[in-house]
């Protein structure tokens, strides 16, 4: 099977030749000074675009849902304008995910 990259939400999820196991969440460090951000119209339903702008890669689109499980359930369709989310810092992503 395919080998998932370190930027993938499935990087730590077990897999074998037949199937991919149930997702193993990749926890992120939550810090009190993480920025509060009200999702703008330009990033509506585009976590990949925000990931690209903030972190330089669209592959971390899922980290916003991971950091804000109480606000975002569906990583894409819950990424709607007006919602206030916490943005994980790149330095924390590098430490936590090894990206």
């Amino acid at each position: 099977m395919a080998k998932y990259s370190s930027t993938s939400p499935y990087f730590t999820t077990d897999q074998n030749d037949v199937f991919l196991d149930i997702l193993t969440p990749r926890p992120l460090t939550a810090e009190p000074d993480d920025i509060n951000y009200e999702i703008d119209a330009v990033y509506a339903y585009r976590p990949d675009l925000l990931s690209y702008d903030l972190y330089g890669t669209p592959r971390l689109w899922w980290v916003f849902a991971q950091r804000n499980p109480d606000v975002i359930e569906d990583p894409v369709y819950d990424f709607s304008p007006g919602k206030v989310i916490k943005l994980p810092k790149l330095s924390n992503l590098q430490d936590d995910l090894g990206v």
């Binding site: 000074d33 990033y43 702008d53 330089g56 994980p88 790149l90």
Partner: protein, 291 residues
């Protein structure tokens, strides 16, 4: 030929990409930094620091430090226990930021000349109008209640003339001129004011807290006893004569009408150029502040 294969188009694209980075544009509009790092410039910090005479901008209504009325109002050495909570500041410090309403007027008299479409205005005078202070006084414990009682008594005292016993040199004088301070040197600094009126409502909708303006002592001794409020059913052996109980409302509002008043002597020192430069609004403690 595709556009990106056109050397001119490629060069144009490169130039515009250099001038306007769409990523940075989006982040800038969203108020974000690359890497989601906090913007230090937008952070605000709360700093506790000690207040002193230079930095204390609370609203105060006090006697001037050199006032001759000090010993009459507060007693020799601060012996008047009822006003003891105010002795350090020589008056009231409003515990919460009060509403201050002030007004300045310049009066012009219209001269209506016959057969004219526009009157001419002749300047008459300028004056600071009376000011209104509306201050909320929350009372949560016996110390607050002591302060409330002292405030009430102070306002009653400074709205009365010097009459009866005491210093014969002061008998017959009008009520003392106070100093109003607040919000720093160029807002309200040493404004000479007299209390024209004050009001305070004792409502039936709040609790009342008991206090005593004197120190309660054990019977036959000078040892102070903790004057925890709660009425007279205290079993400790006490000298009941020292217990002058008062009750203060848990929440009340003092409304004080003040009239700025300048003596002829101090008005002699007025100079519009100095006033405009701010020197007359921020003098030392012995100088009156002009508004």
């Amino acid at each position: 030929m595709a556009i990106n294969e056109n050397p001119l188009g490629k060069a144009t694209s490169t130039v515009f990409k250099g001038i306007y980075d769409s990523t940075l544009g989006r982040l800038f509009n969203a108020g974000l930094n690359k890497g989601a790092t906090p913007n230090d410039r937008l952070n605000s910090y709360a700093i506790w620091r000690n207040r002193n005479e230079q930095t204390d901008w609370r609203v105060k209504l006090t006697l001037p430090p050199l006032s001759a009325a000090k010993s009459i109002i507060f007693g020799d050495g601060g012996s008047h226990k009822v006003l003891e909570p105010l002795i350090d500041d020589l008056g009231i410090v409003f515990p919460l930021t009060p509403n201050v309403i002030m007004q300045q007027t310049a009066t012009y008299t219209p001269m209506a000349t016959t057969h004219s479409n526009y009157p001419f205005y002749g300047y008459q005078n300028s004056e600071p109008q009376n000011m209104t202070l509306i201050g909320e006084f929350p009372v949560q414990n016996k110390e607050d209640a002591r302060y409330w009682v002292a405030t009430l008594h102070f306002l009653r005292t400074v709205s009365k003339m010097f009459f009866g016993g005491g210093d014969k040199n002061l008998q017959g004088n009008p009520p003392p001129i106070l100093r109003l301070n607040g919000y720093g040197k160029h807002v309200l600094h040493n404004i000479p004011v007299v209390v024209q009126s004050f009001s305070c409502e004792l409502t039936d909708r709040v609790d009342y807290i008991s206090t005593s303006q004197s120190i309660r002592t054990k019977k036959g001794t000078n040892d102070p006893v903790d004057i925890t409020v709660g009425g007279r059913n205290i079993t400790v052996d006490l000298n009941e004569d020292s217990w002058d109980e008062s009750w203060a409302p848990a929440s009340s509002i003092f409304t004080v009408q003040l009239q700025p008043t300048y003596s002829r002597e101090s008005v002699k020192n007025f100079d519009l150029k100095k006033f405009a430069s701010g020197k007359l609004t921020s003098g030392d403690d012995n100088q009156v502040g002009f508004i």
